[in-house]
Structure formats: C-alpha cells, structure tokens
Amino acid sequence: QKEVEQDPGPLSVPEGAIVSLNCTYSNSAFQYFMWYRQYSRKGPELLMYTYSSGNKEDGRFTAQVDKSSKYISLFIRDSQPSDSATYLCAWGWSGAGGTSYGKLTFGQGTILTVHP
C-alpha cells in the first residue's frame, strides 16, 4: 500500500464551482499536513499547512484533516481560472531522537482546470 494516495483526477470545473481535492495516508506517524500548488513548469508553492485535525481556512481555500480516518481534503470556493494547476498533498513528521528534518511524502498530484 502506498503511503499516500491522492485522487488522480484530472478535474475540469466551470469558474465559480466548489472544488474538492482528496488524499488518504497510511502512516500514522505523520504529524503535519500540507497542500502545495504547482503551475506548469514551476516548482510547488505552499498553499496550506496544518498540524491538527479539523478545518483551516485561508481566503477561498479550506484544508480539512481527519487524523482518525487518515484523510485530508482541500476545498476551493469560487474557483477561478487562475486556480488551474496541479495540487499536491504532502505529509511530514518530525522523527524521533532529534532527527527532526521534516521529510515530506507527496501524493501524485491532481490536475485541476477551471474554465471560464
């Protein structure tokens, strides 16, 4: 079983739609959860970051984490054509014994297209 499974997509939605992106993970050692956005031919950029279960909101973006189900989601409200990108979920953990370098494990990405 892969450590991280991400809904593969691709997704194509009309402008203004609510988008839901989802990932599941198997390693209960993961402590923090991130969503990255990657535009074509660019490096990933951090969108959302959280340690805890529950919802975290930032403008049109909401990250939802359910540690008991090992499930995270990213919701995008009022989606815009500029949101068209690949979205990557990622997990990290601090490790034991002082080796807290925060190595991230990534999902395979979901390509989102928002058309006008």
Binding site: Y36, G43, A90, G92, G102, Q108, G109
Partner: protein
Amino acid sequence: GAGVSQSPSNKVTEKGKDVELRCDPISGHTALYWYRQRLGQGLEFLIYFQGNSAPDKSGLPSDRFSAERTGESVSTLTIQRTQQEDSAVYLCASSARFTVWFFGPGTRLTVL
C-alpha cells in the same frame, strides 16, 4: 536572490553522459532537499542536507547519483552515466524551520 534558484532550467543529454544540476537555496536556510518528479507523478525524495552534511541519502536511486553541498549554500546533484529513466524534473527546496519548504523552479532533464 529572494527564492530558491536552480540551473540549468533545461538539460538535454545523451544516454551515458554525466550531468550536474545546481541549486542555490535561500540565504540562511540550513536545510536543503532534492526531489525528483517524473511526468504525472508526485515528488520522490532523493536526499536531504543539514548544513553541508547529508544525514539522509536514502532516496538516491543508485550509486550513479551523488550530491554535495558546500559553504552551507550551493548544492550540486550529479548523475553519472545517465539513463533514459533518469528523465524527470529535479526539484530543490530549502527550509529554515523544517516545516515550511520553498521550492525552486526545477531542472527538466531529458536523456535521449
């Protein structure tokens, strides 16, 4: 510069040749990471540097791959005797706090 930079942005090479990929992290970031991203895939961890040492090289796919970092700054990823399966985007990231990472734009490597 303000962000992580990588060079070259694109590299096309013939099978069997050696290549060097460069990463300039954000100034002051002690942690540096290399990842590989194959077409349609997520990011695959290669190696992590803390300062100039590499406590985790577990992601390097074979002994053809090596990396070094000098001056707690620039890092070079070297791939010897390149193979077609090495074709990918190689991404570098740096971090000051181990939790917020900043990625460079990547080097797109194509092995013919």
